[in-house]
Subunit: 247 residues, 2 copies
């Protein structure tokens, strides 16, 4: 049966991939992805004779069509995604593009998304109920993003922000902080992680009041704690509710 794996690679280097993900790449004749992600793995997989296919940003549909074409010609294909295969990943689009071809088996392989890998760097910010919101309004109306930010704050969720800003929308993150300021006290514990699992990884913990003046880009993941979040031993921790966490 024709086969396409949609593979979550985790945040960066191969050590963050699951063994299931590595096995999918090993089993594939073709590995396709965004150029930046293909560059991360080509050192290992190009010498094995696999075809490496890439397209640029905003060429996701073309990328999926190429994968489908290769699968229909009898090749086993892995379509790789940074982080998880589903979370703002390619799984939904690949399933949609292949929908007229039930003879193509699409297997989604989960990976460690930035909410988890960034959390590990900071300590344990998402130890309790949380939500993940992307500030990219390329395909989502800004009004909906704003509504979600407000309900996340009203529900006292730990909030993880993906794509806080980019060259095309430098002010998005500051705007989001201004919206949240009505609901979140200035001392709330927050954190940022840049380039998780890649060269130049860095992180910092700050207050919500300080957050809006921090530099962010499309490789930054932002964490806003809930009302219980605190700093313990220099780490950002959201308690689950154990007595030892409160002492």
């Amino acid at each position: 049966m024709a086969k396409i794996y949609v593979v979550g690679m985790g945040p960066g280097g191969e050590e963050y991939m699951t063994q299931e993900a590595a096995a999918a790449l090993e089993a594939s004749d073709v590995i396709a992805g965004y150029k930046v992600y293909i560059d991360l793995i080509k050192g290992r997989y190009a010498p094995l004779g696999k075809e490496l296919l890439f397209t640029g940003m905003k060429e996701e549909e073309k990328r999926c069509e190429l994968c489908l074409e290769r699968a229909l010609s009898g090749k086993t294909v892995s379509l790789i995604c940074s982080g998880d295969a589903g979370v703002y990943g390619m799984a939904s689009l690949m399933i949609a593009i292949a929908k007229e071809h039930p003879e193509v088996d699409i297997e989604v392989v989960a990976g460690v998304t930035a909410a988890l890998s960034g959390s590990a760097v900071l300590g344990a910010p998402i130890g309790h109920d949380f939500c993940v919101i992307s500030l990219s309004d390329l395909m989502t109306p800004w009004e909906l993003i704003k509504t979600r930010l407000i309900y996340a704050a009203k529900g006292d969720f730990v909030t993880v922000i993906y794509n806080p800003s980019s060259k095309g929308r430098p002010a998005h993150f500051k705007n989001a902080c201004d919206i949240l300021a009505e609901y979140i006290e200035p001392s709330r514990v927050c954190g940022l992680v840049h380039n998780i699992g890649r060269d130049g990884e860095s992180h910092e913990i700050c207050s919500f009041a300080e957050l809006k003046n921090k530099d962010t880009d499309m490789f930054t993941t932002v964490f806003i704690g809930n009302m219980q979040s605190k700093v313990i031993g220099g780490r950002f921790v959201t308690p689950r509710g154990y007595k030892s966490e409160e002492r």
Copy 2:
């Protein structure tokens, strides 16, 4: 330096662990965890001469204290968690319990949490903004859980429910569905995955109207789509916003 890794194992078998997680276990003298999770890995690690430590449910604080004790005696320790190390995991508690011991380095190793592994089984339900809510009221007041369910629905987040019910609280999940029924239309796409990545894994896709009568237990993860979610080729998909997803 004394070292404790808090390791997310992913959903079940070793193939779902990251290579970083496997390396942490390899490097450890002691592996500690809830008995069920130690059983999953003992076949591989007991023969390597590692000490395997376990405590039962509700003995999480004792488990962390044992880890700290072993680390202070010079052993390298891995404390393993199902799924991720942070998401309803042990990272927050381990950091809290070791806070008087800055000489102990605590390294959190992220893993694939059930929101991601379950999503991969169903297709791509969390292709857009989502939240994760546990229905366990052992340490969280039911009123807060209820508030979060309502705001998640009002914000049109894809909602992933952990711990939908257990022997001690069989009606929690039905109660949650009743609360959500005020905000979510009966035809909304939902899904359930049981025993993700373990023996007896099963899944189904259903409507929100059908959801409340489904059997759930502490090994079930429930997915409630957003207003855009749909079934494509038998898979549960939440579109990111590409035209090909709408056709």
